[in-house]
């Protein structure tokens, strides 16, 4: 509507090419994102509602939801804490090797997840470097849900760091100084002045990390042990169905993951929009 009004009054838009760039964007999204999703739902067409329900509520699958969601939640919470700390260190302090640490943050994105999975499994297995130290203490990581959470945390930490970092950079150190000059202790300054600013970014980053963990496959299967009902993740269940050439079944489980992820992302987006509006004085 607005766009059309602008068109009618002549070429008032300073940046040209809205039509073209929007068209290409929509096309790209369709090809890369929407088409596969449509394909997924196409697979579901062969199932009746009862069959669909039976597949997604099968005992072993439900157990895998529990494992996946539980481990992803733990991983996301760990990432929230340590990601915030890492972002803080990267923004607020100068130290040798800062650039390197900053670059390392993206490594989990760059590394093939299977490589990460194998590495973690080797490290934490009973005869691995870490496993040798931990297992005598009665703490088993590999082939338990702790291992799953660890692999998830590894692959999703950049989400938290990279969403919090720019927001923290945007928060001038003067603001903490102001809080302290007014008598606030470090804890109060953090809780009442710094956290409210970081909250939206932190929640978004944690949410993204969580959603990423729900779908993670490569990094986890090597360390998970894949014991039915115990350490099987949902992505593995999909993989198993695919190996049995049960495409409809695989799609059914995949659709559950998809819905949960989508609902979560949407909720975060809406919530964040509200918060940001307040920061910008109800105008943004």
């Amino acid at each position: 509507m607005n766009q059309r009004a602008l068109r009618l009054t002549g070429n008032t838009r300073v940046l040209p090419g809205f039509g073209l760039s929007m068209g290409i964007s929509v096309l790209f999204i369709s090809l890369v994102l929407l088409l596969p999703i449509t394909g997924l739902f196409g697979q579901l067409a062969g199932l009746s509602l009862a069959q669909y329900w039976a597949i997604i509520t099968e005992g072993r699958v439900v157990a895998s939801y529990m494992v996946t969601i539980g481990a992803a939640a733990v991983a996301a919470l760990i990432n929230a804490v340590f990601g915030l700390l890492l972002a803080w260190v990267l923004v607020r302090y100068e130290f040798p090797g800062k650039r390197l640490l900053d670059a390392l943050m993206d490594l989990p994105f760059a590394l093939p997840t299977a490589v990460a999975g194998i590495t973690l499994a080797t490290l934490y297995a009973g005869n691995g470097w870490m496993g040798k130290l931990l297992e005598p203490l009665g703490f088993q990581v590999a082939y338990t849900w702790v291992g799953i959470a660890l692999a998830m945390a590894f692959t999703s930490i950049p989400f938290v760091v990279r969403t919090v970092q720019p927001v923290l950079e945007d928060l001038p150190a003067e603001v903490d100084e102001a809080a302290m000059s007014l008598g606030a202790t470090d804890a109060i300054a953090f809780r009442r002045v710094i956290m409210p600013h970081l909250w939206p970014a932190l929640v978004t980053g944690t949410g993204l990390a969580f959603v990423r963990s729900l779908g993670e496959f490569g990094a986890i299967i090597f360390i998970a042990g894949n014991m039915p009902y115990e350490t099987e993740i949902t992505a593995l269940m999909i993989f198993v169905k695919l190996q049995e050439y049960d495409y409809a079944g695989a799609s059914a489980i995949a659709s559950v993951v998809l819905f949960v992820s989508l609902a979560l992302l949407l909720a975060i987006n809406i919530w964040q929009g509200r918060f940001v509006r307040r920061l910008h004085g109800g105008k943004g």
């Binding site: 001038p172 003067e174 603001v175 100084e177 102001a178 809080a179 302290m180 000059s181 007014l182 008598g183 606030a184 202790t185 109060i188 009442r192 002045v193 409210p196 600013h197 307040r278 920061l279 910008h280 004085g281 109800g282 105008k283």
Partner: protein, 364 residues
């Protein structure tokens, strides 16, 4: 509360931001720290506040607020109010919550009751004339309003001293003028001790009881504004406190020559540089026997009580600025490109390489 600084120095890496400085600020004074950027004025202010710590030097350094030694006291316990150039308001809090912040973070025992906090915040907001905006967020306010909120916030905790870091630097000229007047009034009403940093000479001279002029991490002079303007201790202070015209040349037999320009002066032979304020330059259509300084008018600004005229000539490295009364301006029918002669009413010179008052002023 008086402030006493003893032997305060600071360096960042290899640069000496502040050479050992001693400074006494009396109770109830409004003192301006004036200097170009990099002169150490903000560093000094932040050290007073406790946001930076002074270097540990051979001689002990001390910061006293009245009888209280605050050298080792953390900023949160120094009982200061600090106003930042860019306001540093808490953007996620309303104006009311911003001002109340200092009161609500007090330990439970000292914290006033909610009703009392409310009353105090509204009294402050009234003082800064913003009580109708108490529920707004900082992003909804203009720069001047934000700076007033920041001031009210700093005053809410009843600080012993109020420190302001270029408080009006980010505001436009008109608002700046209003806020200056308003700060001056607030200061005389509440009578707190305050120190502010500025790079604007006019602001420093207008607001301060005394001005501390700084350059390169040193204090050049501390004086009341009129003393400072009329008897600057050295060339830096003289040049920093207003526009200056330079006349550079060499003296030979009592005549200072510079290209085709000359001026009779009773100075010993040798290279010489004379300094003139714009109001010390008179313009005429003729040269005289003792003074031949041909100039061309290149720009005219008739705004204000006097006309500001920019002058150029071959013998001048930098253009001169002269202020002329409107009557003279009309009598000479000045216009751009006109050839005139400059006549110094008065000039000043400073001995090079001396810190002391080697200043001479002569009436020509």
């Amino acid at each position: 509360m008086s402030i006493r600084l003893e032997n305060i120095a600071k360096h960042f890496g290899n640069t000496q931001a502040l050479e050992p400085v001693n400074l006494d600020i009396y109770e109830g004074e409004l003192v301006g720290l004036l200097g170009p950027s990099g002169s150490g004025k903000t560093t000094l202010l932040r050290i007073i506040a406790g946001l930076e710590s002074a270097d540990r030097t051979a001689q002990p350094s001390r910061i006293m607020f009245g009888e209280r030694d605050v050298t080792q006291v953390h900023v949160r316990d120094r009982r200061i109010g600090f106003v930042f150039q860019h306001y540093a308001l808490f953007r996620h809090m309303s104006v009311y919550d911003n001002v109340a912040f200092g009161l609500t973070v007090m330990p439970k025992k000292e914290r006033p009751s909610n009703g009392e906090i409310r009353a105090r915040v509204f009294r402050l907001l009234e003082m800064v004339q913003l009580e109708h905006l108490a529920k707004r967020y900082p992003a909804q306010l203009s720069g001047g309003q934000q700076q007033r909120v920041s001031l009210a916030r700093a005053l809410a905790v009843k600080p012993d001293v109020l420190l302001l870091d270029e408080p009006f630097g980010a505001l436009d000229a008109k608002v700046r003028q209003d806020l200056r007047r308003w700060l001056r009034r607030l200061h005389s009403e509440l009578n707190f001790t305050s120190v502010f940093v500025t790079h604007d000479q006019e602001e420093a001279l207008e607001l301060s009881d005394r001005v501390v002029v700084m350059s390169n991490g040193r204090i050049e002079q501390i004086d009341a504004p009129d003393t400072l303007y009329h008897s600057p201790k050295n060339r830096f202070v003289f040049e920093f406190l207003g526009d200056v015209n330079h006349l550079e040349g060499s003296v030979n037999n009592g005549v200072l020559t510079c290209g085709n320009a000359y001026l009779h002066v009773d100075l010993p032979d040798g290279p010489e540089e004379l300094l003139l304020r714009p109001h010390e330059v008179r313009l005429a259509e003729q040269a005289s026997d003792t003074c031949h300084l041909p100039v061309v008018v290149t720009a005219i600004s008739p705004v204000g009580a006097e006309v500001r005229v920019e002058l150029e000539a071959d013998w001048l490295a930098k253009p001169w600025l002269a202020t002329v009364r409107h009557a003279d301006f009309e009598r000479l029918a000045m216009k751009r490109g006109q050839h005139l002669f400059a006549h110094p009413r008065q000039w000043h010179r400073f001995e090079e390489n001396t810190q002391s008052a080697a200043r001479q002023t002569r009436t020509a």
